[in-house]
Symmetry: C2
């Protein structure tokens, strides 16, 4: 069998044993607490891992862009939640076409999106589930108050082609459950039923049972882990499945090593949620610090290593952000304990529409 | 003819008129000063624009990764400089195969790379040009002193399959010419000829004639421009050819708009060289500030706009870093004055090896 050591670098690798551990842990948590689990495929972008997640018990998948959903539908996924406001008739019509084939729901925060999707769904003779996106503290998308959530729910309920399903938020914060509970009460007071309350994000995933409001967990990064997950204590280093093998291509000075992996390979995404700096964790040299990235160069301070790697040495890097990293790679090499299993095209990579 | 307005978003667009102006300006500068010009294709990654550059007078192209060079060779490029240390026999053999077809030179800073390439080139019966990379102040790759440059040149001269061509640096700083002049003197004192002194980088491109040492200019970003080029006064906004058309998908509050373009579309690369924050310039709303990116969300402070764009409105964003941006896009839509000319696959995108 081919070993990872035989591969030219840089190369993105995925440890399938670690993926299985991560899937089992998250699904186990959801099963224990009676929560539905709906993994976000933006992390791996791979049909094979989506199938592993569904086989382990996930109720379906989460996507953001229609191009991702179309790849996953073509690969056999049958229940897709789009946690993204799909604006305009072109996207609404693609969504309606998808809804004719598989179970589809969307989350959004505006009348505009509700009306766009309603028109296309009604014209296509399909029904699309609709979750009202709630801003429970992150201040990205989402309606701003429980009253606004109820008002949008009422509009959705009145529109053809839409079925009001419930509420959605990202990420789950300590205050999210109370917010969502108030919104549920407001919606129910207007005579509607909230059948799903969906909450997302890996760092907070294991808190979703607290509060008793959330019914569905979404998480993506948990499946690979990354430096951000290590920083937030959500995935330990040994379960970080996605790693980049990189070669030292220059040692211009005693304290500096240059890797063949820069922002085009590792992503220039920062470590999320915490203030940590740097651009990845060098597993073999924990004292090393990737202090800067050019597109093809990782600039590493190896002053704390004695003597640090030579030109030609291969090291393993856990990237800051798994999702941003996989979006850069046309393929990943999957392995078990360093023995290559297969090379998988990252089928849903680069799907920005 | 199709208008850009008819395209679904997000979409990366390239203004061919602006590209032509940028090519003419840089080639004109080099011609005026008797400098060879060798554009770096990492910005556009497109055979069509590489041909436009060569037709305008470029002596050849610059690539970093072999995968880029292979795409460009297959598209008809005949003179390629690899400004990247190619380590290991796998890459050396690919380089030697390329050198059997087209004129190839490499830049590197170590004995290891020189010996790897020498072995492969000698075995293949080809000759590869070699430029010694010099660290003239950026502190990335490059030998650390003129004496080290001369020592590596002497080794290169002694190795089969290699031809010592000269010196290379990136980027050009005010002190680079003096450094390179000292290195040239040291090399010549050992009886070797320095036939090329190649210097790179868009912000400093128009200073390369100063000092009288540099003979070849490399630049990449000049061809598209970006927010970094605006910040460094190297390309004006009106010549920024690469722009992302983005739709407002949420207006959760009076001061916040969310675009359908996040780090997967705009790149999370920062503005280079200056301390500017933010993630792109919204052309139609110069007061708007893209203060954060999620993968698919551009978080925009529109508090300074009155009232700012509605959900559904399309805006145009000049990204922070053109090269990082094009690496995210499978295709770009090329246009003249907003009329679509063609959709070009970004052929050398994602070539990390």
């Amino acid at each position: 069998m081919l070993s990872l050591d035989a591969l030219d670098t840089p190369v993105a690798t995925v440890d399938l044993d670690a993926v299985e551990r991560n899937i089992a842990r998250m699904q186990g948590y959801c099963d224990e607490h009676g929560l539905a689990f709906r993994p976000h495929i933006k992390t791996h972008k791979l049909p094979a891992i989506a199938h592993m997640q569904v086989e382990a018990g996930a109720v379906g998948i989460t996507c953001q862009k229609l191009g991702e959903a179309e790849v996953m539908e073509s690969a056999g996924m049958r229940d897709i939640l789009m946690t993204y406001p799909l604006v305009g008739s072109a996207k609404a019509e693609r969504l309606a076409a998808l809804a004719a084939e598989v179970v589809v729901a969307v989350a959004a925060d505006s009348e505009r999106v509700a009306r766009d999707i309603s028109s296309a769904a009604a014209a296509a003779g399909v029904e699309v589930g609709f979750l009202v996106e709630c801003d429970t503290g992150f201040h990205r998308t989402g309606v701003q108050s429980p009253a606004d959530a109820a008002a949008l729910a009422e509009l959705v309920e009145s529109l053809p082609g839409l079925r009001f399903d419930g509420l959605m938020t990202y990420p789950t914060a300590p205050e999210s459950s109370a917010w969502l509970g108030r919104a549920r009460t407001e919606v129910e007071a207007r005579g509607m039923r909230v059948s799903r309350v969906s909450a997302g994000g890996t760092p907070s995933a294991f808190t979703n049972h607290l509060g008793g409001v959330i019914t569905e967990v979404r998480a993506g990064t948990y499946v690979y882990g990354d430096r951000s997950c290590i920083a937030s204590d959500s995935v330990p280093l040994e379960d970080c499945a996605l790693r980049v093998r990189a070669t030292v291509v220059s040692r211009p000075s005693s304290d500096r090593a240059i890797l063949d992996s820069g922002s085009k390979t590792l992503t220039s995404d920062p470590v999320a949620w915490t203030g940590e700096t740097g651009h990845g964790l060098v597993v073999e040299y924990p004292e090393a610090h990737i202090y800067a990235l050019s597109e093809e160069h990782g600039h590493v301070d190896v002053g704390g290593c004695s003597p640090g790697p030579d030109v030609g040495e291969v090291v393993t890097v856990v990237p800051n952000h798994a999702c941003g990293c996989t979006n850069l790679h046309d393929e990943v090499v999957v392995h078990r304990a360093g023995r290559v299993v297969a090379t998988w095209p990252v089928a849903a990579r680069g799907k920005i529409r």
